[in-house]
Symmetry: C2
Subunit: 195 residues, 2 copies
């Protein structure tokens, strides 16, 4: 049972996923070859198959891992009883979480169609689970008379689309800091659903 400690496997495995994520984000899943990924890691293409059964699983594992991270990070948040506080919490969490991993966000959105149907269903289920959390907040706010939202499901989709959009233009070196952007978006979200 040699090679358990200091094994390259602990190093190479993550590096494969990192290289795949970066390349998929930059060029798209279909446009990236296993040889490119291997080259980025400094290894021959065949060696990748010690870490993934095939290219499809590599993509799926990235998306799956991202969605797991999202739901886990979300679950670790305090969940205020007050709907307004919960909505603010969700808004700021979403912007921050997505800002911190732009490549995973991008790939998770762009490469859904390159998943096999079964894999797609799994990712889609996790995504729906996240969306439902926002929908629940909105419904509670409506019930308590704090929000004026005729269609909580649609409002949830609209808010998430708006918030995720930050990733398309925000730059760390830009004029505005992330907390400032958070503030601006929270203002719009709050007003958009206000009673």
């Amino acid at each position: 049972m040699a090679r358990t400690q200091g094994s390259h496997s602990d190093i190479t495995g993550p590096r494969v996923r990192e290289a795949a994520l970066r390349l998929f984000a930059q060029n798209g899943y279909a446009a990236v070859s296993m040889r490119q990924i291997a080259g980025e890691v400094g290894v021959q293409a065949g060696a990748l198959y010690n870490y993934t059964p095939d290219k499809q699983s590599l993509l799926f594992d990235l998306l799956r891992g991202h969605m797991d991270d999202l739901l886990q990070a979300r679950a670790a948040c305090a969940q205020p009883d007050d709907p307004l506080a919960a909505l603010e919490q969700f808004t700021r969490f979403h912007i921050r979480f997505h800002h911190d991993r732009p490549e995973a966000v991008f790939v998770s959105y762009m490469e859904l169609r390159n998943l096999t149907p079964e894999n797609f269903e799994i990712i889609e289920g996790l995504r729906r689970c996240y969306e439902d959390q926002l929908e629940d907040i909105l419904r509670r706010g409506v019930t308590e008379g704090r929000f004026d939202v005729a269609e909580p499901k649609i409002a949830a989709m609209a808010v998430i689309a708006m918030l995720t959009g930050v990733n398309t233009w925000f730059r760390d070196e830009g004029r505005l800091s992330l907390p400032e952007v958070e503030e601006i978006y929270w203002g719009m979200v709050r007003k958009a659903v206000a009673a």
Copy 2:
């Protein structure tokens, strides 16, 4: 000068673009081969090169055509002086226009990274031109004291992201009609920027 009238070219040319658009939307630019496109048209791969110098130009022409359509359709709209009316007009126009051509919208968003840098710059310029129109409406509304928007550029990006998001979930056979969806989104946009 034979073959000018009733020429197949008038038929095949558009069919090539239609097939390419449909296939690019479904499978992504990189995953679609010239032979697939040709097969869809009922022709051999070599024949496609009577209608496009290469695959890249085929993609570019689709995106270019879509952006031209967008700006032209927008220019054909009445442009109300009243900022609130102008914003409502923009909101409804955006939802309707994007609803009517989901494939072109999808491809225009997803395949930007598969453009050469020069082609990308052109499309990006057209896109900015469209965004600026919304930004101008918001600025005018602020000047006239009708809107409360600290960052018109960012608000414009947020509104557009929100509106374009309709395409990701809306189905014609769904519970809500497009006019109903228009109404819901217009309500959220109006409140989000209201003074």
